[in-house]
Symmetry: none
Subunit: 223 residues, 4 copies
């Protein structure tokens, strides 16, 4: 599985980087170091200087790979959604029932923690970054420009895949994308709230109910 995942990276839009970070040892260190550092200090405090120190290289070298820290975040989130799409494909292959496929998709979206590593990428930390920081990848003034260059392609495709399952179940449903993006972003936020602003949730520390809550929402929406 991991071997295939690595090949996924190749598909990330070239506009996300100056030089493919998968193409060299240093590039890979930039990616793993970024995940480590953003996870530790947050995207706001993250800078190329700190990254250069972390990976024992220089700022100039990082610039060879990424034009800005924004692009790094876009790269990481795109990588995440690429990998999620693969996992979805893997989980739904050869399953005929769209209901079952949707169920597995929701399971995937709302699963509490990821405990895998791929190509030295700590996926648990990447998941956490997506939860805490991924919105900052599109809540920016340059969103339209980035979008035009395909920066959010992977995310939109992931949402699309599940929307398609929904339309299989209920072809005349009007809001398949809204339903999926609501569940995806909601699941991230609820997990974050559960940890930091529990008054906005009803998890009582048990994050399993996030899955139950969104499962129910989706099922009732399609009834």
């Amino acid at each position: 599985m991991l071997d295939i995942l690595q090949s996924l990276n190749i598909h990330l839009t070239e506009s996300l980087y100056q030089k493919d970070p998968q193409s060299s040892k240093l590039g890979k260190k930039i990616v793993t170091g970024s995940i480590e550092l953003i996870h530790n200090i947050g995207f706001d405090q993250f800078t190329f200087r700190k990254l250069a120190i972390e990976i024992e290289s220089t700022e100039a070298s990082v610039y060879r790979y990424f034009e800005s820290k924004q692009k790094v975040l876009l790269y990481l989130t795109s990588w995440y959604w690429s990998w999620m799409e693969y996992r979805l494909a893997f989980l739904t292959i050869n399953i005929n029932s769209p209901e079952e496929r949707l169920k597995r998709a929701i399971q995937l979206i709302t699963e509490p923690t990821i405990d895998e590593n791929s190509d030295n990428v700590d996926l648990g930390k990447l998941h956490q970054i997506v939860i805490e920081e991924s919105m900052k990848a599109y809540l920016i003034k340059e969103v339209d420009h980035e979008n035009k260059h395909g920066a959010y392609f992977q995310y939109k495709q992931f949402v699309n895949r599940i929307s398609d399952i929904i339309l299989e179940i209920k072809p005349n449903y009007n809001y398949p994308h809204m339903l999926v993006s609501t569940v995806v972003e909601g699941a991230h936020l609820q997990r974050y709230f559960s940890q930091h602003l529990p008054n906005l949730t009803d998890t009582n520390g048990s994050e399993n109910c996030i899955h139950d809550f969104y499962s129910e929402i989706v099922l009732k929406a399609l009834k």
Copy 2:
């Protein structure tokens, strides 16, 4: 209505500011100038230097009122939720039916644009800021510290008020806060997606369906 709104500001936690911006002409200019500037250039580009130029004052003067730009954002969002809570109270007073009250609450949350002014505060722009930037007020490493000092009190209270209505309708419902916060944050995101990442929505430019979508979600959840 506006007179009462102004008195609402007094209730914002003192931890949000160094000196109450409502207490002086300069303080008010800082607030209105911040709204104007954040709306124009985005919170990421917003700095006290630019704000000082905008309002024809100095950074040092701004620091008298706010410790950091983060606190300004917290102040603005708290002000927004305070004002939303008041509007909610106003809209639901003397309405017996909890269903009707909930309906109006959802209407309030999902209404497309706000076209009012209060005390020189351009509420349309503030609404836009809440949509585009408010998540950056809590998706920060200092979230727990800020929360401990009451920075998110107004937001949590607004969510609570509506959760209470939900519990009136369906007392044994397990996820009232999650439902409300999902709708609130979802409504913001869908509006943003509708404008910038339409593939993640099904609005086709018509933002009315955001209301329809979340109405249906809530109604079905409480059936």
Copy 3:
């Protein structure tokens, strides 16, 4: 004794202050607060803002009394030397032998710690300030200007008084002032070195030998 000391303050040159700090309650708080604060954080970190907070007043109020933090230091050191001069007079009055008077003077200069209070002024802390910071009162580019306005009068007078005793003992001695100022500044420095840079001293923590060392220097110089 203390009553008389308070009257000494009156003699401090008016050029040291804008308004006599002894003339009001606030003025006295500024003096005692400055001693407290400089002792705690050092003269370099000392600012009128911090002082104003310490004494629960405002910067503008402090400016009524002192033109700058430099002047505060000059005031405190002048006050110190004024008080030392008084103590010297007190200790040598009615003593005929100039040798005995000199002995007592050296004792006074080299005594390890001062454990008295006068008019709420913590003299131990003031002594420490003189040791650690008083050189910064004259090692400045404005030294000549300050000197012209009498800022160092008290210090010079104290040195003079002892020089006079020396000349009584050995009228043809060529370097009475150099001897005294060497002992005074040396005693301060050695005390400081003893606490922070012991390799520059031979005190082994016991500061009594500072007295022995300088006593011997002086006695041999006058032989």
Copy 4:
């Protein structure tokens, strides 16, 4: 001689700088520019901004070499003492008589002006800086921290060298370090007093007597 001096710089503790100023042209300009500027406006008025303008570079570049202006002062004084130690070694080599060696050492310490240049460093100005500002390098709250990191090593070693000569002459003398540091600091102060506060000296403008005064002190102390 100068060639050897340049190699001395290498021995300055790395904790004094971020990047060795001897290692590049810019680094050397920072050192010479600092001497020029501190000499002109004093250490208190000296800032990295003014230095950057002086040497036609930028603050950011200066920061590559020195963490703070304090460190620059520590660097300059350490350089000075390193160079003084070398001169001492040079002056006393092959001299058997410790009395003669001591005599030369005192000559070195109390000599009126230095009129040499080494590696574009104006040693006369550096000497003046040491006289006027070097105490500010250790009369700081961070003295213990700096000392722990070896900031005063060169000074202490210079004092030590001469203390050793003293002990050769009078092995049971109790205060060799105190005697040396008193003479060193005293010589600086008396020179300063002679120029700015003559009432504290007996030089009448002729600074030669500083040497005579301290010579006598030392000779009598060791009798």
